[in-house]
Symmetry: D2
Subunit: 159 residues, 4 copies
Amino acid sequence: MGPGAKAKAADLQNAYQLGQLIAQRGWVLLTGGRNMGVMNAASHGAKATNGLTIGILPTDDPNSISEAVDIAIISDMGNARNNINVLSSDVVIACGMGAGTASEIALALKGNKKVILLNDNEQSKLFFKDVLPQNIYIVDNPGEAIKTAEEILALHHIA
Amino acid sequence: MGPGAKAKAADLQNAYQLGQLIAQRGWVLLTGGRNMGVMNAASHGAKATNGLTIGILPTDDPNSISEAVDIAIISDMGNARNNINVLSSDVVIACGMGAGTASEIALALKGNKKVILLNDNEQSKLFFKDVLPQNIYIVDNPGEAIKTAEEILALHHIA
Amino acid sequence: MGPGAKAKAADLQNAYQLGQLIAQRGWVLLTGGRNMGVMNAASHGAKATNGLTIGILPTDDPNSISEAVDIAIISDMGNARNNINVLSSDVVIACGMGAGTASEIALALKGNKKVILLNDNEQSKLFFKDVLPQNIYIVDNPGEAIKTAEEILALHHIA
Amino acid sequence: MGPGAKAKAADLQNAYQLGQLIAQRGWVLLTGGRNMGVMNAASHGAKATNGLTIGILPTDDPNSISEAVDIAIISDMGNARNNINVLSSDVVIACGMGAGTASEIALALKGNKKVILLNDNEQSKLFFKDVLPQNIYIVDNPGEAIKTAEEILALHHIA
């Protein structure tokens, strides 16, 4: 999960690497599916490594879908689809920050999902750590994010 | 908007007063509709002052509805209903803090709504002020929240 | 519930009368909220008789809202909002027929709601009567629809 | 798409065959994802032929997911998820009939999707053919359903 139009260059680089690492482990990548920002970069990274990519789209506009998404789920429910994104994920990695990303992190915590934060926004780390400390993991780079995800999956026996 | 089961005593007092003040102005109160926490307290405050109260419920469980809700909208879509709550509001007042409340604030900002924060969680103020500064208003008490709401409505010509 | 752009003249007349009769009983009218077709006509009928009108809108376009809707709930979830319409209603009256109306009737039956059919589409009556006979009531005019609604509410002790 | 708990034996046989035929063509099977009825039978048929199966679940109950679903999308929005099912499908095949299935057919027609009906409910055929004739295809067996789907996909240049 991460920003669309307002993603920073570092977020896009991290997202692309996350997509690669996720695909290398044989995991399925689930994103918001649009052809911009973190969701697009992560999907392209996963496809470059022959991964399977799912996108949960907010609208039914076919032109909004990333070409790197294999399976497009058309929710047509705007940002309410953010709740589906996080409930359908075994682990949530939030790459970058913005209003939409913040809503996904908060909805993930509300749904008792584990969330890994990869960004340079210190306020976001302090805030979400305060909301539900035991569900928040703070990392510095994509490799650390994936290692943390592996530990969470092993600990919680998620397939 | 505000916490359900985990609302603090101060949040409930503020919510009750907000409900009273909203009803006194002839405004319609819209909450998450459940019979607990901030949504319940605000609805009771509004009814004590003969206001009209709407509740957007997450489930179709009739026992979950606050008795102070006049009109129950049954979304049956869990926390995705938080997006409906904020999109249907002219101004969002967030009273207290938690994962669900954070998701409503973030979804409100994503939908370009003005959000008034009334809580004692300093991290939340720093964080949301950072996400979209021009849409966040920080207040210290219910009276100030309503005064701020009046100014926002006047400035933006919202009926 | 009923067609928008494709409503027939008879549907609009029936809808306006239904709105009037609903308001006269002090009931709240809930529709799909748009400024066209059956939802618009019913809302205008209710307002002509000083009723309270709720509209559950499919999009966040402010220009799509009927001016006869007092309280606009912005779902921004397209036709998935049809499920909210029926779950939030004590009794569903389907006035006219079309794909959207058929989805509301079917979702109402799935949610075990009582549905009153007022239209001249014989296939729709045969079909929905076949799907769940005990929940379908067929009427010939608005007055009969309201009388049937009163009987359903009395029998099932719905407030 | 098709009934869950109330599916008939013939529906389950047809669904299993549909799953097999869909997987044999290299298509992705999308169903409602639950471990009962037509969605379960179709998913098992597809997995028996090494297909890829997606399920859009109505609740977040992990025990409700068919073991033949590869990728579970957790909507947690009840029957409103039926709209996502049809909007995310290139072609909708309705196997069997019931209130939920009727809602999916109606929502598919509302979204201008092509719908293939495979059932022995004559009223449903007459009714949906009346609602939007150019989008309804009536078939007698799974093989004919797949042949019709191929023709629709070819005609409309759907990948």
